[in-house]
Subunit: 289 residues, 2 copies
Amino acid sequence: MLNTPMSEIRSTSATARNVSAAVARQGKLWSNLSEVCDLLRIPASLGAFQDDFQFQHMQFKSGQRVHTIGQPFDMLYIVYSGFLKTVIIDESGNEQVLGFPMKGDLFGIDGIHGKQYSTEAVALSNCEIILVPFKAFLAIGRANAELEAAIYGVMSRELVREQSLIGTLGSLSAEARVARFLVSLSERFSDMGYSGKQFNLRMTRQEIGNYLGLTLETVSRTFSAFNAVGLISVDQRAIVLHDIQALRTLRRLPPSHARAKAEAAKALKLAAANKEAQAAAGAEVQAAV
Amino acid sequence: MLNTPMSEIRSTSATARNVSAAVARQGKLWSNLSEVCDLLRIPASLGAFQDDFQFQHMQFKSGQRVHTIGQPFDMLYIVYSGFLKTVIIDESGNEQVLGFPMKGDLFGIDGIHGKQYSTEAVALSNCEIILVPFKAFLAIGRANAELEAAIYGVMSRELVREQSLIGTLGSLSAEARVARFLVSLSERFSDMGYSGKQFNLRMTRQEIGNYLGLTLETVSRTFSAFNAVGLISVDQRAIVLHDIQALRTLRRLPPSHARAKAEAAKALKLAAANKEAQAAAGAEVQAAV
DNA sequence: CGGTAATTTGAATCTTTTCAAGTTGAGTGG
DNA sequence: CCACTCAACTTGAAAAGATTCAAATTACCG
């Protein structure tokens, strides 16, 4: 089930298709300022008239690193296409996933302070990345005051995103973390023009668990539990969200013995009654405390 | 024990004392740009010659809010003196502490994106805060290119600080979290010119626990355990760090039954032998995995 | 000096992790 | 094209770690 590749769901514009074709041929491309602003979700009007700035693209194969920890900082990066993860590595070599940058996301900001990157960005798929030399980045702000305010806004957005992750790690159960992770992915896919209801995960259970402060087994079990109560369908990397609102506010699933009772009740009845039991199990999902 | 008030440990400069006196009289004061740069740890040379910018101070009593969630954004804030906490509040009213701003820290950045604050800043003691209108903040950057780069650096620093918190929440045991929290406080106090070895906590166990993703009981127990093995001394809010390096790299304390055995051994012997057992328990602290 | 908030500590419980084993799936070479 | 292999994933059972609930003690504010 659910093996539809992402590319078939994608709502590709004519421009995007031409661009992809071009990339496939030359593996290289440039973006102008207004395209970059558009990607970063900065009101287009601000950067529309500036064509002095051109930004080079660069291709990365799955597994390649865009930048590594300790590497001298001189670039910011914007995802043009593909999926990545950013990680920090502590003194004993343990990774901590900080985020999963995708189309329109800016990364590398951590390098400004300290003049070297404190994180590592790894491509999870083949990626096309826009290179933004920090010097150019500064020059843009100087050239246009409104744009500069918008740039601060983009950095602030990153900060808020991280704060939200802190909130997730600091106070939610495993189930709530996984649920919100799925909702957050859903929203980002929607923004990108993909389906927010069904999509393929681009990262492993290990990476998800690491990101959420859980083990891969807990992530797997939680997916299975959500699947069992009908909140989602999972098959490996393929996900379908059946009740986004429930996922959004979920705090805990009913304890498994209660679910087992529900299962038992379901088993006693037959086909027709079956559906009602399913619905009941779904309704039993707890929301706020 | 350890009731020395912070003010006695403080190494107060002549300027700072005059300033404090002035504040006590008028409850109001202005800072110029070079003073602000100094506070933010921006190389002094950059802002030294600019006297066009003046920033107003404002007093907050313990418990007062500097800004609240949803409030329209138009200011950034720099701590001149005192201690605060910043929190987010989720849809069901639960707080999550994000940080404890103190002297020299910039906060309010989260408000830039979205034009309203997404966090709340609460004074934990009487505070003096420098108000930096965002317009002025932008103007500073425009007036001086080098300064602008430094400003981005300060924002980047905040981002890195949050990433480090994410790493802590995502992968460390309760004991390691508390240990690193103490080390981090120690370093900040040192930077401020206070003692990094002994200090008073400005926040409750509840607030520490919330910040670290733990319950207040776990924090209290962990303090007690560190105290028992001689890593620190605790008495209410008063803390003495006896082995900062051990705290920095600590992953787990030996299981309590092992410590109990050590205690038993200690009980059998007497005064002189006592000290050796203590040392042994200290040495037993595990570091890397 | 009384009253409330903060802290400590114990015991039981619950969640998540750890360890272990088996399954599935994609890619590779014969 | 199929067997083989490795990584990813799933699931179970036991163990560990942290939380919850409860009670007692200690500070601190007015």
